[in-house]
């Protein structure tokens, strides 16, 4: 029981405490991680007799800080450094310099993780590790790479930060635009990890989505004239608005066309649409704005049938020009199918598959199976649903795919009847 409480605390409070520790101990990631781990162990040992403290987060912070100091002392025979840090800790919380007036440890942590002197894949791994508290194994699975590769990336990145003197700051205003792209990528990765957890019991981890939205809001206040910062905020709000309608009581994913639209969060949608309008008014389009515009069109449709698919397909086309990835193309193909029929979409998906990039990606067979099902080609749909189920790692997505598989199994072979409602 206590173990679960500490796990929950680690999930909710861990990244915030870690960010604070890294800030206070001169950007030393390893020291901060070890000290926080000590604090969890101390909690498990102490709380059964003392009871859980009133403010467990504050308790963990204090214990972790003390542990970090102990570790420093043991490391440094020469105690000068730790004495200096001890003095600093005894003083008031130091006023952070050069952060554009927004002292937020996690934003600082994010910019440090995304420093251009760190290789791009390592930036993202480090952001997921420190800001989301994901384990090395979880990150490896999210990136479809061996765990040893991820572990090595993390070790190298932390070493580079410490030894090359990468500063632990939010860059100055004039440097911010150049540093933005990596930070946006990381924020969106955090959001997606929360919106569609790559493993674990539940599909969504609202704590992570909420954190990504919070970071985007901070970024918008730092860079009010940057349309892509507004774009990503809009995109995440519009998606997050559908959170409650996205999962069934049994935990299965509910696809967009079957969601109860009355359960969408109107306040988040309004805020998302407002942010998107402000971004578009700046007349500098970018991939996050385009994706937000697509999400906005879905949000504005009262029923699935009234969705403006031609406009969505056109936006995906524009997005694919800016972001020519196989995943964008797969979405473009699915949107094209809604305009010109499943056969068109299937032909396009075959071309995406030939590219070979998405060989292990469950949404490729899933998208193909959906189109085959709509075209009434149940037997073929069955094969591809099975393949998708094999590749899907999230239980909620698997449950949805299994339901579809039962539907195509139960329907008459090669009938032209579409079993899905609202089509």
């Amino acid at each position: 029981m206590l173990g679960r409480i500490v796990d929950e605390l680690a999930r909710r409070e861990g990244p915030r405490i870690l960010a604070g520790l890294i800030g206070r101990f001169g950007g030393n990631f390893d020291l901060a991680e070890d000290a926080l781990q000590d604090a969890y162990e101390r909690a498990l040992a102490a709380w059964p007799s003392t009871g859980i403290p009133e403010r467990p987060g504050a308790w963990l912070t204090t214990v972790a800080q003390r542990s970090a100091l102990d570790r420093l002392r043991r490391l440094n025979r020469n105690a000068h450094d730790s004495d200096a840090i001890l003095e600093q800790l005894a003083a008031e919380e130091p006023e952070p310099v050069d952060d554009g007036g927004l002292p937020d440890e996690r934003l600082r942590l994010l910019f440090t993780c995304c420093h251009p002197a760190i290789a791009a894949p390592a930036q993202m791994a480090l952001a997921l590790r420190t800001l989301c508290g994901l384990s090395t194994r979880e990150i490896a699975r999210a990136f479809l790479e061996p765990e040893a590769t991820t572990a090595q990336r993390l070790v190298r990145a932390k070493k580079k930060i410490a030894e090359a003197g990468i500063p632990y700051i939010v860059p100055s205003r004039e440097e911010l635009p150049d540093r933005l792209s990596a930070v946006l990528t990381a924020i969106y990765l955090v959001f997606n990890e929360g919106y569609s957890a790559s493993e674990g019991e539940s599909l969504v981890r609202p704590d992570l989505s909420g954190e990504a939205i919070r970071l985007a809001r901070l970024l918008v206040s730092l860079l009010p004239d940057e349309p892509e910062a507004l774009g990503i905020l809009a995109l995440m709000l519009l998606h997050d608005a559908r959170r409650d309608a996205r999962v069934e009581a049994d935990g299965a994913l509910v696809p967009l066309e079957e969601q109860d639209r009355s359960r969408w969060d109107g306040v988040k949608i309004a805020e998302g649409l407002g942010a998107l309008d402000r971004a578009i008014a700046m007349r500098r389009r970018g991939p996050y704005q385009l994706q937000a515009a697509i999400a906005a069109l879905h949000s504005k449709a009262a029923t699935p049938a009234s969705t403006d698919w031609p406009q969505i397909a056109a936006l995906y086309g524009a997005l694919h020009v800016m972001l020519p990835t196989a995943i964008v193309e797969l979405n473009a193909a699915a949107a094209a199918a809604m305009v010109s029929g499943p056969e068109e979409g299937l032909a396009w998906i075959a071309r995406v598959e030939a590219g070979g990039e998405l060989a292990e990606y469950h949404l490729l067979p899933a998208a193909r199976a959906d189109l085959l099902r709509r075209a009434g080609r149940s037997r073929e749909a069955e094969t591809h649903y099975r393949r998708a189920i094999e590749l899907a790692r999230n239980p909620a997505e698997r449950l949805y795919l299994e339901r579809r598989l039962r539907e195509v199994n139960g329907s008459p072979r090669n009938s032209a009847v579409d079993p899905a409602p609202h089509r």
């Binding site: 002197a117 090359a164 003197g165 990468i166 700051i169 440097e175």
Partner: protein, 116 residues
């Protein structure tokens, strides 16, 4: 923290440089060096003679082996360096970007290992 600013460039390109261009380049380096000194970050620095003047030395089995030329043939060669003292990597990168050699060649920024 102390950083080495290592300036790499294609030496062969110098063969085609006019007298005037060469003068302009040295003037640029002069200004850059003055900026480093005025900002109080300059510790040391110099241009190096071409790799043709290099001698590579190895000690093997108690014998000194000297060979003509650099230790490795590369497309761009180390042509000069600065040693600067700045608070962090971002500051070092800013100075590296201002170095005249950054426009044509590559600048490697390396922190000194303070324990050695």
């Amino acid at each position: 923290m102390e950083y080495m600013i290592l300036i790499y460039g294609d030496e062969r390109a110098f063969g085609n440089v006019t007298e005037a261009q060469l003068k302009a380049m040295y003037q640029e380096y002069g200004t850059y060096t003055q900026d480093l000194i005025k900002s109080g970050v300059m510790r040391a620095g110099s241009e190096l003679k071409p790799v043709a003047t290099a001698t590579t030395v190895r000690m093997r089995g108690g014998k000194v082996l000297s060979t003509d030329g650099p230790f490795a043939e590369t497309k761009e060669q180390l042509g000069g360096y600065y040693l600067i003292d700045v608070p962090n990597l971002d500051e070092a990168v800013k100075w590296a970007a201002k170095c005249p050699g950054a426009k044509t060649g590559s600048i490697e920024v390396r922190p000194l290992n303070p324990h050695s």
